[in-house]
C-alpha cells in the first residue's frame, strides 16, 4: 500500500472533475452550469501542477538561485499561466451567451430552453 500522499493530488483532481460534472448534470440555472464548468476545468490545473511537482524543488526562477539548481517542472507552469487568463475570458463569453439565451427565451433553466427549432 503506497503512501496516501503519493496519489492525493491525482485524486483531488479527479474529485474536482467529478464535482464539476455532477454540477453540470444536475444544473437548474445556466450561470450555475458555467461556474461548474470552471470548477471542472480547474481540475486540470491540479493534475498538471501535481505531475510537475518535485519534493524539495525550487521555483524555476533563476534570478536568485544558481543555474542548475533542481527545480519543479517549468513547462506545466507555463501551460497553466496562459490557461488561467484564457479561462476567465471564456467564462465571460459563456456568461454573455447566458444573457442572450435569457433575452431570447425568457428562461435560464437548461431544462426549459426549447429555443432550438428545426
Amino acid at each position: 500500500m503506497p503512501n496516501t500522499l503519493h496519489f492525493l493530488p491525482y485524486f483531488v483532481s479527479g474529485w474536482l472533475f467529478f464535482c464539476g460534472l455532477y454540477g453540470l448534470v444536475s444544473s437548474r440555472h445556466l450561470v450555475h452550469s458555467v461556474m461548474c464548468l470552471a470548477v471542472l476545468q480547474s481540475s486540470t490545473y491540479i493534475l498538471l501542477l501535481g505531475v510537475g511537482y518535485r519534493v524539495g524543488g525550487a521555483a524555476p526562477i533563476f534570478a536568485d538561485i544558481p543555474p542548475g539548481t533542481v527545480t519543479v517542472d517549468p513547462i506545466v507552469q507555463a501551460l497553466m499561466l496562459t490557461d488561467v487568463v484564457v479561462e476567465a475570458v471564456v467564462v465571460a463569453l459563456l456568461l454573455a451567451m447566458v444573457v442572450k439565451a435569457h433575452e431570447k427565451s425568457g428562461t435560464v433553466s437548461p431544462d426549459e430552453l426549447r429555443t432550438l427549432r428545426g
Binding site: 467529478f18 511537482y53 487568463v85 484564457v86
Partner: protein
C-alpha cells in the same frame, strides 16, 4: 422525475469513472518525484540560451511561443464573441434613464484609500509586465493587474472617469494592436530568414531589464492585449450603466 433518473445514471457512471481514475492514479509515479527530462533540460538551458532568468516565461514567449500565439488568439476571439453577443442592434430602441451621477462628496475613507491604491496598482502592473523575463510575472499577469485599475475607479464611484478610460475605440485599437504585433514579431523573424517566432533580437546581459530579446517584447504586447481585453469585457457588461441607456422592451 426525469431529473432523478438523470442523477442516478450519472452517479452510476460517475462512480465507475472515479473508481477507474483512482485505480490508474495509484500506479502513477508518486507525487513529488517529477522525472521527465524536458522540464529539467529547459530549466538548465534557458538562462544560457535566452538570457531569461524566469524559465516559465522563456517557455511561454520563446520555446512555446507558437502555442502562446494560439492561446492569445483564443483570448482575442473570446473577447470578440462577448462584444458581438452583447452588442446593441441597430434598430433596437433604447430608453435614456440618465447616466449614473456620482454622489459628492464621496466617503473620505474610500477616496483616501482608493487613490493611493490606484497609483500603486499602476506601478505594480508595469513592474510585473516589464520584469517578466527576470522574475515571476509577464504580460498576462500585468494585463490583469492593469485592467483592474478602472474597476478600482469605478468602485470608488467615479463613474465619469471609468467612462473616459474605457472609451471604446481606443481600447479596441490597443486590443487589436497587441494581438497583431505578436504575430508581426513572428513574421519579422521570417523576413530575417529565421524560423517563425525565433528570438532575433540581441539577448543583452542576463539579469538586465532589456535582456532576453523578443521575450520581453512579446510579453509587453500580451500585456497590452490582456489589459484591453479585460476592459472590453467589463465595458460590454457594464454598458447600460456607463451610457445610461437601457433597451426598450
Amino acid at each position: 422525475m426525469r431529473e432523478k433518473v438523470r442523477t442516478r445514471v450519472f452517479f452510476i457512471f460517475g462512480g465507475i469513472f472515479l473508481f477507474f481514475f483512482c485505480y490508474s492514479a495509484i500506479d502513477l509515479p508518486p507525487w513529488g518525484s517529477y522525472r521527465g527530462p524536458y522540464g529539467d533540460v529547459i530549466a538548465r538551458v534557458s538562462v544560457y540560451e535566452r538570457h531569461a532568468t524566469d524559465s516559465v516565461n522563456a517557455i511561454n514567449y520563446d520555446y512555446r511561443a507558437f502555442d502562446t500565439l494560439g492561446e492569445e488568439f483564443i483570448l482575442f476571439a473570446a473577447v470578440l464573441g462577448v462584444m458581438m453577443l452583447l452588442r446593441r442592434d441597430e434598430d433596437e430602441t433604447t430608453r435614456n434613464v440618465g447616466k449614473v451621477e456620482d454622489r459628492h462628496p464621496l466617503s473620505t475613507t474610500v477616496r483616501t484609500t482608493a487613490m493611493p491604491a490606484i497609483a500603486l496598482t499602476v506601478v505594480f502592473g508595469f513592474y510585473i509586465g516589464l520584469h517578466g523575463q527576470l522574475t515571476p510575472g509577464g504580460g498576462f499577469q500585468a494585463g490583469v493587474i492593469l485592467a483592474s485599475v478602472p474597476f478600482l475607479l469605478y468602485v470608488c464611484e467615479n463613474t465619469e472617469s471609468f467612462r473616459r478610460i474605457t472609451s471604446h475605440t481606443t481600447v479596441e485599437a490597443i486590443d487589436a494592436l497587441g494581438a497583431g504585433s505578436y504575430a508581426l514579431i513572428g513574421l519579422a523573424s521570417l523576413v530575417l530568414g529565421m524560423p517563425f517566432l525565433s528570438n532575433f533580437l540581441p539577448l543583452g546581459t542576463t539579469g538586465n531589464v532589456f535582456s532576453s530579446g523578443t521575450i520581453a517584447l512579446i510579453s509587453a504586447c500580451i500585456g497590452f492585449e490582456v489589459t484591453a481585453a479585460f476592459l472590453l469585457v467589463g465595458y460590454a457588461y457594464l454598458e447600460e450603466i456607463i451610457t445610461g441607456e437601457i433597451p426598450e422592451d
